[in-house]
């Protein structure tokens, strides 16, 4: 059970935060199809940052001394850098779609095509191969929080909650959850959030009340880029052993699906992301899942082909979307470039 919860969270959290990134852009009226591209770019930047830090021996002493506070700081710093560069990358999209009033889907697609190519090109130059990895060690030994890092004995039993939430977890997961909550409140309970959402529904009306639509749309897309960049790095760190390959396994597109399925509402998105993460986890480790702890691995004994389990996450997405998309409510002005002269 502990294993299932932890692995589900590892898959669900990047999805959740990137889906929220989509919400911020779309609620301000910009379709951000480039989530996948920004994630790829963010993952690359974060991994590169860690590599450079390792190469410059900045945190080697901290690692040798098992000073995990410093290492967590390094992780947060890498997340911040990935977010920053993700935001910068997304400026390309906002510039094209706000200032140049270009078609937003085309702009997003262009970024999606550019990011993996650019990232692979850079990785080839930097590392002379197709994967950018940490120069030494692995993500788990550097950044994972375990019982022993918190000062407990290796065999200590922390109870169900302790074992689940404090052992073998990444700080990044919790930071993302907190950010998700804070930003959801920002979107719904603050003046800024209301203004941002109004620009996605009726920008003319918003403009007539003195809200700068262009600025709001820039803000929405930039927050979106930052979150997607960070989400990309968190994905690479927690599930892919801190490696960047110019690929995030379609998580950006899945995040779009999660966003639509979650009806552009943070609460629903969190639920949708967890549902998807759960099936993703079941798909990869069905043979090791023991829910009630009786030593019987039920899913493995059913005798169903592993391919069926691996299809599950995608089938579930299709089915759920088919049933819920009728009720979905798209932000009204999404995808339409704002033109002041138009009524």
């Amino acid at each position: 059970m502990t294993f299932l919860i932890q692995q589900t969270l590892l898959y669900a959290v990047p999805l959740m935060i990137v889906a929220l990134a989509g919400v911020f852009a779309e609620r301000s009226g910009i379709i951000n199809l480039a989530l996948e591209g920004i994630m790829i770019f963010g993952a690359f930047v974060g991994v590169l940052f860690i590599r450079i830090m390792q190469g410059m021996d900045v945190f080697q002493a901290a690692f040798a001394a098992k000073n995990w506070m410093a290492l967590q700081g390094m992780e947060l710093l890498a997340m911040a850098v990935a977010a920053l560069l993700g935001a910068v990358f997304s400026l390309l999209l906002s510039f094209a779609s706000v200032n140049l009033r270009a078609d937003q889907t085309i702009g997003g697609t262009a970024l999606n095509l550019m990011a993996p190519a650019l990232v692979l090109f850079l990785i080839r130059i930097i590392a002379n191969q197709n994967t950018l990895q940490m120069t030494e060690g692995d993500a788990a030994s550097w950044f994972m929080i375990k019982k022993t890092t918190l000062g407990f004995d290796r065999k200590a039993d922390l109870g169900f909650l302790g074992n689940t939430l404090l052992h073998q977890v990444y700080l990044a997961t919790y930071v993302c959850i907190i950010l998700f909550i804070v930003l959801s409140i920002l979107l719904y309970k603050t003046r800024f959030g209301l203004r941002l959402r109004s620009c996605g529904e009726n920008p003319q009306a918003a403009d007539s009340l003195g809200i700068n639509v262009y600025r709001m749309r820039y803000a929405g897309t930039t927050i979106s880029g930052a979150l997607a960049g960070m989400g990309g790095f968190v994905y690479a760190l927690t599930t892919a052993n801190c490696a960047s390959t110019g690929d995030v396994a379609g998580f950006g597109f899945l995040a779009l699906a999660v966003m639509i399925f979650g009806n552009w509402k943070p609460g629903n998105i969190a639920g949708a992301a967890i549902l998807f993460g759960l099936f993703k986890c079941v798909a990869a480790s069905y043979a090791s899942i023991d829910i009630n702890g009786d030593g019987v691995y039920m899913l493995a004994t059913l005798g169903i082909s592993s391919h069926v389990y691996r299809m599950l996450p995608y089938i579930i997405t299709l089915v759920v979307l088919a049933f819920t998309s009728k009720k979905s409510r798209v932000p009204k002005a999404e995808g339409i470039p704002y033109d002041k002269g138009q009524r």
């Binding site: 294993f3 692995q7 590892l10 898959y11 590599r51 390792q54 190469g55 410059m56 021996d57 080839r124 130059i125 930097i126 590392a127 002379n128 191969q129 197709n130 994967t131 990895q133 120069t135 030494e136 060690g137 692995d138 993500a139 788990a140 030994s141 994972m144 375990k146 290796r154 073998q168 599930t239 892919a240 052993n241 490696a243 390959t245 396994a249 986890c281 798909a283 990869a284 480790s285 043979a287 090791s288 899942i289 023991d290 691995y297 493995a300 592993s306 691996r310």
Partner: protein, 398 residues
């Protein structure tokens, strides 16, 4: 003009890559002892290249992966298998042999990666071989049994160029030397060692989706060794055996999750059999305080979780085969298959770097000598042998 620009870019990227790798403490040692003939030759070449100050024992990592030859021709060419060049395993180990031989003998060398990465087709591989020959290759080293179709075409077309087919077999052409390894012996030793060491729940995660003969032999040997050691100790061990992930020998989040699941449910050590798959499994091992058995080359430098590695002497085999081209004895191996095993000292475990406490080096050496002398015969017929009723082993094939 274009050439100059290209050279500039190449050397620039080389510097960058060197700078990026420079900080890492992880270095790979010289994979195998070099051939006796080498030092003499390298000393002869030394004054010309003004490398006299350097010590004779140069490791493969000291030699850059990209080199620029003066005339734009590259004498020793290497065609990679699927997966990346620096996989810290099969491709890298083979290329190390190319680099070591070329560097010691003052030859130019280059690697060619077939286009389309993991999805490379026979045409992509043929194109890479053609490019190698047209680039002036005097010998082409091809890694991986998947090159067969492309090799048949390329070697037939360029009949005067010798090809070395690593993990290969004779394909009916006199200019192709097939070199294979008796991986089952290496796998056997690894399986025997970990069970003797005291591990009772093992895992095997192989690459190539179960179609790669080398990986199949490794796995089958691992099972036999574990069973033999368990019988010796009078106990029963369990093993998870999977080909599910790593069909293209790459690391993936799914593989990492699967390995996490295995470790969580009690698996103590996993044999990561396939190139970059090691990354995912080592990450899962260090998250769960588990252990890993490496493959092809000594991987103990990559992670503290490595107990030992089931090695095959790729670098030394390549050097041996390429040397035959240059001393005009290639006809001895051309057109034939050479199978290297314990008797040639081409497989085994790295006793200097393993972290075994309960399995003594002397016991290992005794067993190794038995295998080399043919006293202990290890079955290589994985197709019929694997799914039998093992006396002391519970095998869960996934």
């Amino acid at each position: 003009m274009n050439k100059k620009l290209l050279a500039l870019l190449l050397s620039g990227s080389m510097m960058l890559s060197l700078a990026a790798c420079g900080g890492g403490a992880a270095t790979t040692p010289a994979p195998e002892e070099s051939k006796a003939a080498e030092p003499a030759q390298s000393q002869a070449a030394a004054p010309v290249e003004s490398k006299a100050a350097e010590p004779a024992e140069k490791t493969a990592d000291d030699i850059p992966d990209n080199m620029t030859s003066a005339d734009g021709k590259y004498q020793v060419a290497f065609i990679t298998d699927v997966g990346q060049l620096k996989d810290k395993s099969f491709n890298q180990g083979t290329y190390d042999g190319v680099k070591l031989y070329a560097d010691a003998n003052g030859l130019s060398y280059k690697y060619y990666q077939p286009a389309n990465g993991d999805q490379a087709t026979d045409d992509d591989r043929y194109d890479a071989m053609k490019a190698a020959v047209e680039g002036g290759a005097e010998v082409v080293v091809c890694a991986g049994f998947m090159q067969e179709a492309a090799l048949t075409k390329a070697a037939g077309e360029f009949a005067d160029v010798p090809f070395v087919f690593i993990d290969g077999y004779p394909i009916g052409l006199d200019n192709v030397a097939g070199i294979s390894f008796q991986e089952e012996q290496s796998g056997y030793l690894a399986g025997y060692a970990v069970v003797q060491e005291g591990f009772e729940k093992l895992g095997f995660s192989g690459g190539g989706g179960g179609t790669n003969p080398a990986c199949c032999r490794f796995g089958y040997g691992f099972v036999q060794g574990a069973n033999a050691a368990a019988a010796n100790l009078g106990k029963t061990v369990e093993m998870n055996y999977s080909w599910e992930y790593g069909a293209s020998f790459s690391a993936s989040p799914e593989l990492q999750t699967m390995a996490n699941g295995w470790y969580t449910t009690g698996t103590e050590v996993i044999f990561a059999c396939g190139g970059s798959m090691f990354q995912s499994i080592a990450a899962a091992a260090s998250a769960n305080d588990g252990f890993v058995v490496g493959v092809d080359v000594d991987q103990s430098f990559e992670s503290d979780a490595v107990v030992t590695s089931a090695m095959k002497g790729l670098a030394s085999a390549v050097q041996w085969a390429v040397a035959k081209v240059y001393d005009n004895t290639f006809s001895e191996i051309g057109g034939q298959g050479t199978s290297l095993g314990a008797k040639d000292d081409a497989v085994g475990l790295p006793t200097a770097t393993w972290s075994m406490e309960n399995f003594a080096v002397a016991d290992y050496e005794e067993m190794f000598a038995d295998i080399a002398a043919g006293k202990l015969d290890i079955d290589a017929d994985y197709e019929t042998g694997l799914e039998q009723d093992w006396s002391n082993l519970k095998l869960n094939i996934q």
